[in-house]
Symmetry: C2
Subunit: 442 residues, 2 copies
Amino acid sequence: MIQPRVLKGFRDILPDQEILRRNILRSIEDSCRSFGFVPIDTPVLEYSEVLLGKGSGETDKQIYRFQDHGKRDVSMRFDLTVPFARFMGAHVNELYLPFKRYHFGKVFRGENTQKGRYREFMQCDFDIVGVDSPAADFEILQLMYANFSDMGIRKVKFHINHRGIFNQFLGTLGVGSKSEDVLRSVDKLSKLGAEKTRENLTEITGAGPAAEILDFIHSEAGNAETLDKMERLAGGASEHSRRLREILQLADAIGMGDFFHINPSITRGLDYYTGIVYETFLDELPEIGSVCSGGRYNDLASLYTKTEIQGVGSSIGLDRLMAAMEELERNNSQESDDSTPSSLRFADVLIFMMDEKYLGNYTRMAQKLRASGLRTEIFPLNKKMGQQFSYAEKKRIPLGIIAGEAEISSDTVNYKNLLTRESIEGITLDRALEQARKDLNI
Amino acid sequence: MIQPRVLKGFRDILPDQEILRRNILRSIEDSCRSFGFVPIDTPVLEYSEVLLGKGSGETDKQIYRFQDHGKRDVSMRFDLTVPFARFMGAHVNELYLPFKRYHFGKVFRGENTQKGRYREFMQCDFDIVGVDSPAADFEILQLMYANFSDMGIRKVKFHINHRGIFNQFLGTLGVGSKSEDVLRSVDKLSKLGAEKTRENLTEITGAGPAAEILDFIHSEAGNAETLDKMERLAGGASEHSRRLREILQLADAIGMGDFFHINPSITRGLDYYTGIVYETFLDELPEIGSVCSGGRYNDLASLYTKTEIQGVGSSIGLDRLMAAMEELERNNSQESDDSTPSSLRFADVLIFMMDEKYLGNYTRMAQKLRASGLRTEIFPLNKKMGQQFSYAEKKRIPLGIIAGEAEISSDTVNYKNLLTRESIEGITLDRALEQARKDLNI
């Protein structure tokens, strides 16, 4: 016997969780497609050179890297950004620009598995490439808002900053050469707190500039005030601050202004970003951290093509979002006594098996119920009623149809609401269907 | 510069193909859920011991197998059946039985890449485990039919056989000890032809039995005749032939009989199967081969648990099905002059960018169109009209909305059908929306 264990940091996903995950991905996909975004896919396995870049001589410990049968040096992808860059390098001439794509896929990182981090997880990435404009910057944010609100999450806050303004400010301050270290230090503000960040910044820039940086990254009472302060400290307006203003104006124009929060402490550690950067928090669950982040970059695929590909992108942290959805669901269900919502229900109706000779009748009933939108199954074996009821209970199926000899011969059924335990006996299937719709609110 | 190449046998999936693939998977998922099937997921990477079984000392050449950072012997999954067996071994006590699951996922095989075979491909598996009954056998077939018909493919034929009858026949014939070799040889009938199969069978059983086997595996004019002959040659009726009769009766009872074809030459090579086995062909594209196959097995997870888990399962060959869908689509579009069907369209409406100062207006228009179900995008930069038209053409967007100063100030738009090149100028957005619905038939 082999122990059916999974690798550390990997996991099976059981139906409850997997239904939720697939529902979320479908909702995100519908939102994306309503904005004209299209899906792509790339391989899980690629040449290590392609994923790691030519420079990477030593094996990165986080990468699953090995030699395949053809002695090729291959690696499993660790994100969807590098494969997208490689994809654009390979296909830029057969695609149209601007190109708006989404990509859902598993990625693999052999990193420390503490704190709910997995070694295999699903990423959801979104990008508009081939254009640098306020319209594109705003669209990616608007799409993210649509993603959340289509899932029923309306209380979100986009914490937005602009790398260009930050760099301009550091230049004005005379510490432009240290900008990378400063950005990384500021990026850790929420983790380390103000005091530790002051210490770190002081080490990098000295005490005076550190104090000014702490002033700069502090959000004022309103977006306008914050932006004014940022401009002032950065030495005046620029194309960067104008871009941020334009994005805010667009948000206001369509009534989304309340969801935008200018937060100059958001830097995103990666060198990669050059324009807006942002993270997204849920008003009801701020402690869960950012559920969606991204920003503008000015050369996606320089490793693979001479064509400069500018873009703006975003990524949703699906595991974190799922945890949030479950938490919100729990909070909501404490307020009402709703049963499992329809989208998460495994099935709506169980047709009990009273005798296998009626299987043809049951099958026709099931067909009719399915055609009316009810998820319907027939218990596939003539077992004791107790076992069939217990199956329905474990699978949380709310409705039952029971038809034995008397019912079959009179073309009727007994209808049972398995949650309330109420029964209606000897009714037509049409009547049962009507009652099912009423009981399930559909 | 790094060449943006992909590994041999791997591939990028561009939007045309990926939209089709995702639509197919969503349609299959909806069908599954209407029958009460639920999704699961398992890791891409597992312990080699778990995937290959304890016996496998030597490295199977088809398996991507390596040592991870923790010196664990790991492999990428090569199918979804072994992981499902492991999954059931791990979770049988926390699940209810019968358990009906579907699982879509990528699998990896380093095999020969000739003839459109890929080293990474998507599998779609379906199983009902924990029960052995005609209802379950029939349900898996009915679900497969629902999968195809919900995709618009109604002309399919399930070629069904029963391993039990075949083995009974071989026993009666006195060659029961050679059943594995016989089954494998018969499995290659369609590939090698009757003459070569006769030679092979003669080598295994001698000429007399070989002739009888060739008689047995020949389909008669109707299912009833074939089944009668099989019973007769097998030495009489048995639980196996009764099972097959029951399945046929159920198919007839719900008007599906025409899609079932008893074909005693279908054996499925794998030892694994013990009951019904089947393959599925499209009437319009028989040359494409079986698009869906499966059967009944009597012990799924014996490697991982002492609990006997019987089941019946099915697997859809997604790449083959996609090729078929594209072929059928091409045939259909030659008959009519339909444009891209809505489900495959990248976007319905392009709002042209006449001046970035109108972006707020365009964004509100887009919101309204999206809320009415039209996939709508705004061209994100103020480029020349020619370039914007060319973008719409390349992305095959059928409708355009153009609003410059005159239109914005009078709260109207110009509406363009980009396929017919017809325009309606100076109308309200509501009027344009109405016209769009008419033009797109929605």
